[in-house]
Amino acid sequence: MEYWKDQHEPIIAFLKLFDKAKQDQELFEGLKKVNQLIWFDYTEDGPDCSFYVDCRNGQVTSQQGKPSEEPDLVMSLSADDAHRSWSNKLNPVMAITRKKIRVKGSATGLLKLAPKLKKVALIYEQALNELNFSEKILK
């Protein structure tokens, strides 16, 4: 991995991102509209390297690992590409076309979040700073 020292670091960063996103009214509303259980699968970088976000039923929760229920959407990619993606430095359409991101299930809900990616990147940067991961911030 180019940006992470082990498989746990990226999950710590991404869960922090979602914790902060939930506190932002605009992103919280956007996440609720996704209305899906999504598993972000980075297990190509380690068996524990994944987390899920449950945006169903008007709530947003996130946790490390694979959800016990069948997810509506699975996004499989490397932890490095996930870092680029949350930093808004990876074109998601291009990444899917080139198989850097593999998608299983309906991506319709995620389209609701597409307009918010710039804001997500700003909050991700704050999350990295708070975790003393500022050297990982992509400029």
Binding site: N91, M94, S106, T108, A114, P115
Partner: protein, 623 residues
């Protein structure tokens, strides 16, 4: 012959006579089929002096080699000829169910010339061709006519129908298949109307498709169909239609607002996006023949001023053309306007754009009440658009109907005032609902160099800029930044070749994103037996692109016509593309160098044409 049948129906409507003609194999391997083959037929047999709506004008319907194959995305066909909207060469593509039925009936295409002495329909059934009177259908809308034809010729028949707009020779009248699928652009409905031809009906007794290598083709077809069905794009389009990403596109600055005067309108984005259409009005999903994507919408608006019964729903282009372009975020109104356009037989893109231009011209006093018989043109007033303006256009009724029925370019020329400043065109054709300033600067270039005028389906530049294409075998493995001119001319040269291959094979550009370049070659070889290598296929694409330019050259177009309205390239005033310049002239200059186009004449040099085996064409234009 494999894939293709080698036969076309040639109809002389002056004489109410038809004959079956065969085309040489080399026509197919050199010009592929569809739009490319239509261009070759016109080159050989067309009258370059014939006005688009004169009896001498040729109207050419042409299948690609894959029509009839049970594979998602390959049930489209092309129509081509001299466009009444632009006055030069053009073509239009339509999905639906006509193309496979024509192939099963034994034909690759239909060429029409002359003018019937009476309103008629053309009926093609298993090698038999009849021209039948249709006086009782003349004047009827597309939906009623389609129903009547189904009753008369049977449920298994497939039809192409024009509405009142085609009969009344409106410059952007379209041709509709099964009430839902349109040969929308460039006005070929008017050409059919000028020939007194209300409809074409085809019917076959059995689905026959003779492949060159059936076993290999079947394996490839299954693999591609599965991949197309399961792709992210297909699933998104299946669920929410072609407007699925309208919301994201608004934030990119790709969706035009109030005649391209604005690039951002947040409330509109959610109001008009595909998921809102699904939640509010969707009753069923529809599909072209054999397509697993099923991006078509069937909608019903149960109440309100824009209530419509269950029927064909709007696609992205229609939603934007009658929504954001007109300053409206009333989704029900776009459903109503789209349905009305289908029934009247009007292209929704040119109609929406022309009305948007009219609204801006009215706002800025370039059109006054005297020009409109007192009808007031106001942003967002879809009630007037639906109740008055669209029917007036179709029937050429009143001053406003006659003016807007010309299309924005000819209407502006008629006014002879400064209303040309608000046109959004290239070569006389209104731009589709993708703003190059946000959607991608390469689009500005490819709108300008497109043979038919501003067009996003002439080639896949839009998809290349958004990141949806990856063709390492031909050198397209780099990433493009949409709001930049970097690498756009180089990409455009690849795009025009791929676009010519897509539109000549008549493949849907949503489906074929999943097909790799080597698989394209295999598909041609296994189905039609073209015996191509990769270079042969790319050369055929380039040959078609050049032939279309040569046709336009003979219609009088020159390099200076590869241009685009200033509105489409001036810096946006808001949204993601705010203040960013498009370096159009540099992109065009570089493209001309790469494509060996003469900087004055706009056509390729003699040696370039020779290298593609186009010696006869080269000798003719360079003599």
């Amino acid at each position: 012959m494999f894939g293709n049948t080698g036969k076309i129906v040639w109809v002389d409507l002056d004489e109410s006579a038809a004959q079956i003609r065969t085309l040489p194999d080399s026509y197919y391997t050199r010009f592929i089929g569809g739009a490319g083959l239509a261009a070759k037929i016109f080159w050989d047999f067309g009258d370059f002096h014939a006005a688009p709506l004169s009896p001498q004008a040729l109207l050419i319907f042409m299948n690609g080699p894959f029509a009839g194959l049970k594979l998602s995305g390959c049930s489209r066909s092309a129509v081509a000829g001299r466009s009444p909207l632009t006055g030069h060469w053009g073509d239009s593509s339509c999905g639906g169910h006509f193309a496979p039925e024509l192939r099963y009936a034994g034909f690759d295409g239909i060429v029409l010339e002359g003018k019937s002495k009476f309103p008629c329909v053309l009926f093609v059934e298993d090698g038999l061709v009849q021209i039948l009177p249709a006086g009782d259908m003349w004047g009827a809308g597309v939906f009623d006519t389609t129903d009547t034809l189904r009753k008369q010729f049977g449920k298994k028949s497939r039809s192409l129908v024009i509405g009142p707009a085609g009969e009344n020779l409106v410059n952007y009248a379209c041709i509709i298949n099964e009430g839902h699928h349109a040969f929308g652009r460039a006005g070929y409905g008017a050409v059919m109307g000028s020939k007194n031809l209300k409809a074409i009906i085809v019917k076959s007794s059995e689905p026959r498709y003779l492949a060159a290598d059936p076993e290999s083709l079947d394996a490839l077809r299954r693999e591609l169909d599965s991949r197309i069905r399961n792709s992210v794009t297909s699933q998104v389009f299946h669920e929410n239609g072609t407007a699925a990403n309208l919301e994201g596109a608004v934030h990119m600055g790709d969706v035009p607002i109030r005649n391209f005067t604005s690039s951002f309108w947040e409330e509109m984005a959610e109001a008009l996006t595909g998921s809102t259409l699904s939640e509010s009005y969707l009753t069923n999903k529809g599909a072209c023949a054999f397509c697993k994507i099923a991006c078509k919408r069937v909608v019903e608006v149960k109440e309100g001023p824009f209530a419509i019964p269950k029927g064909p729903g709007p696609e992205y282009e229609t939603i934007a053309a009658f929504g954001s372009m007109l300053g409206s975020m009333d989704l029900a109104a776009t459903c109503k306007a789209g349905r009305l356009c289908n029934d009247l037989g009007i292209d929704t893109i040119t109609a929406g754009s022309t009305i948007a231009w009219g609204m801006e011209a009215y706002e800025k006093s370039a059109i006054c009440a005297n020009d409109t018989d007192g009808i007031v043109l106001t942003w967002g007033d879809l009630d007037t658009v639906v109740k008055t303006i669209l029917p007036d256009i179709a029937y050429k009724k009143g001053k406003l109907g006659k003016l807007l029925g010309l299309g924005s370019f000819q209407a502006s020329a008629t006014l002879a005032n400064d209303s040309w400043q608000w046109l959004t065109i290239s070569k006389g054709m209104e731009a589709p609902m993708h703003d190059p300033r946000g959607g991608g600067h390469g689009l500005a270039l490819t709108y300008a160099i497109s043979h038919r005028g501003a067009c996003h389906t002439a080639n896949p530049m839009l998809f290349m800029e958004m990141g949806a294409c990856y063709y390492p075998e031909i050198g397209f493995e780099y990433e493009l930044e949409p709001m930049s001119s970097e690498n756009k001319p180089e990409s455009a040269l690849l795009a025009v070749q791929i676009g010519a291959i897509e539109n000549s094979s008549c493949f849907c550009q949503f489906a074929d994103r999943e097909i790799t370049i080597p698989e394209w070659v295999q598909l041609f070889n296994y189905s039609a037996g073209y015996g191509w290598g990769l270079e042969d296929m790319m050369s055929a694409g380039l040959r078609v692109f050049y032939l279309q330019r040569l046709l336009n050259y003979r219609f009088g177009l020159r390099a200076s016509d590869d241009d685009i309205s200033s509105r489409l390239i001036e810096p946006a005033v808001d949204g993601a593309p705010e203040g960013i310049e498009i370096d159009f002239n540099s992109m065009k200059r570089r493209f001309y160098e790469l494509a060996n186009l003469d900087e004055t004449l706009g056509i390729p040099d003699h040696r370039t044409l020779e290298s593609l085996g186009m010696n006869d064409e080269a000798n003719l234009v360079w003599s």
